[in-house]
């Protein structure tokens, strides 16, 4: 018998996804950032609340997405994969806001508005908050009024969900032609916000985090929005 060979079309596609790592086109890296982003956002908001006494400073960054609830809230409790009937999609809806609570079992996956991306987390991970807040859940398919939440069998979870409108401001561009602001449905700008160890808030080049290499702890530069003036350091842990 000959050696089995992987479907050449699929093989090329996998190779292409791997070759794109380290570039802005990498869907794998966007996927990973989404999964981490939920946990990071919770930490970020908590830190901002401590520093500012409740005022969240991140609202001033260009490219920010504003999500406004639309229509009625749907709630329910489920186990394993389930569909949620959200009612007819209202005009102007761009996403679904979801608060999903789980504390035991396996993983839950929620599709988000950007094609091919989703948020995945492990319910039994004790360092996570029990409730995951998602503002960019994907709308039902055209003609449908339900979304499906994928969960491992035997994983209990509850949800409140509501349609939302979704608007984004433009990223800004510095003198060097680099865009800066927060990642949104349009992708990621060249410079994204980060808080330096000295407390100052500036911007990092996301690609810098990859330059440190395997198993290395270190730090990368935090810049002004000009992308050249260094104002502090951003720590990179060994995970």
């Amino acid at each position: 018998m000959n050696t089995p060979t992987l479907d050449p079309t699929l093989s090329n596609a996998i190779e292409g996804e791997l070759a794109a790592l380290g570039t802005a086109e990498s869907r794998l890296q966007r996927h990973q950032r989404r999964a981490r982003g939920v946990a990071t956002a919770v930490v970020g908001v908590t830190v901002a609340a401590m520093i500012t006494g409740g005022a969240i400073v991140i609202s001033s960054f260009p490219g920010e997405t504003t999500t406004s609830p639309l229509g009625t809230v749907v709630a329910g409790s489920f186990e394993g994969t389930a569909s949620i009937d959200l009612g007819i999609v209202p005009a102007g809806a761009g996403s679904v806001i979801l608060d999903i609570t789980c504390t035991e079992g396996g993983t839950i996956e929620v599709a988000t508005v950007r094609a091919g991306e989703s948020v995945v987390w492990d319910c039994s991970n004790p360092i996570r908050n029990a409730t995951t807040h998602i503002v960019d859940g994907r709308l039902p398919e055209p003609g449908s009024k339900s979304i499906t939440i994928n969960a491992d069998a035997g994983t209990p979870w509850s949800v409140t969900a509501q349609y939302a409108s979704r608007t984004m401001t433009e990223w800004k561009t510095n003198a060097n032609g680099q865009t800066y602001g927060v990642p949104n449905d349009n992708g990621s700008p060249d410079l994204v916000p980060a808080q330096a160890t000295n407390g100052k808030i500036g911007f990092i080049f996301p690609g810098d985090t990859l330059s440190l290499g395997a198993g290395v702890e270190g730090s990368i530069n935090v810049y002004e929005s000009d992308g050249t003036t260094v104002i502090g350091q951003f720590p990179i842990g060994n995970n």
Partner: protein, 198 residues
């Protein structure tokens, strides 16, 4: 950048530094072995394809904790294939949408179909049944040592346990499979060799 694949540990260094071309080169080098092993562990060609893709995506995601064996990532990839095959539902969830969006011809070659239809045996037990009965680590230990012919010491490195622990667990895993065989009756009663490599 040109990559000398003879020095795989150097390629791995580039990969860990975020070089996509290095991951692509490792995929080109090892995809056949990874796919062939996946075919023996699951019932459908499509599942084996999904596991192959997921194994290389995991290689990237877990790059900071990957253990090279003799300077190669292949043993780690094979361990990951066993783990992915053991828990297809859960492991597929992480990359389901990404893998689902990858284009395919959807016409499996005859050899792939043949491999999934010919039940590979592990010590006289159907491989798919064997890994269903054993823990992920024990399954990986048996697959690496019996089918992929790694030494116990190398398999232990790939899995991340001590060689002594690996030997003990291999012994118990063999015993367990043998007990299960005897309980099932005469159609599966060939003796289980301990093997010199263990």
């Amino acid at each position: 950048m040109s990559l000398n694949l003879k020095d795989e540990s150097a390629v791995w260094g580039h990969a860990c530094a975020g070089d996509g071309a290095a991951f692509a080169a490792l995929f080109t080098k090892h995809q056949s072995r990874v796919y062939a092993r996946a075919l023996t562990l699951v019932a459908h060609v499509t599942n084996a394809e999904d596991i192959t893709a997921a194994a290389f995506f995991e290689l990237w995601r877990k790059r900071r904790s990957v253990r090279l064996v003799d300077g190669s990532v292949l043993p780690w990839l094979l361990v990951t294939v066993v783990n992915l095959a053991k828990n297809q539902r859960r492991s597929a969830a992480r990359y389901r949408r990404l893998i689902g969006s990858l284009p395919r011809e959807r016409v499996a070659d005859a050899e792939s179909i043949a491999v999934t239809n010919v039940h590979t045996e592990l010590l006289g037990v159907r491989l798919t049944e064997a890994i269903g009965r054993l823990s992920a680590e024990d399954s990986a230990l048996l697959v690496l040592t019996v089918l992929d012919e790694l030494s116990v010491a190398d398999a232990a490195v790939a899995i991340g346990i001590k060689p002594g622990t690996a030997r003990m667990r291999l012994h118990r895993a063999r015993q367990r499979l043998q007990v299960d065989l005897q309980a099932e009756g005469p159609h599966h009663n060939q003796p289980i060799p301990e093997g010199d490599r263990a």
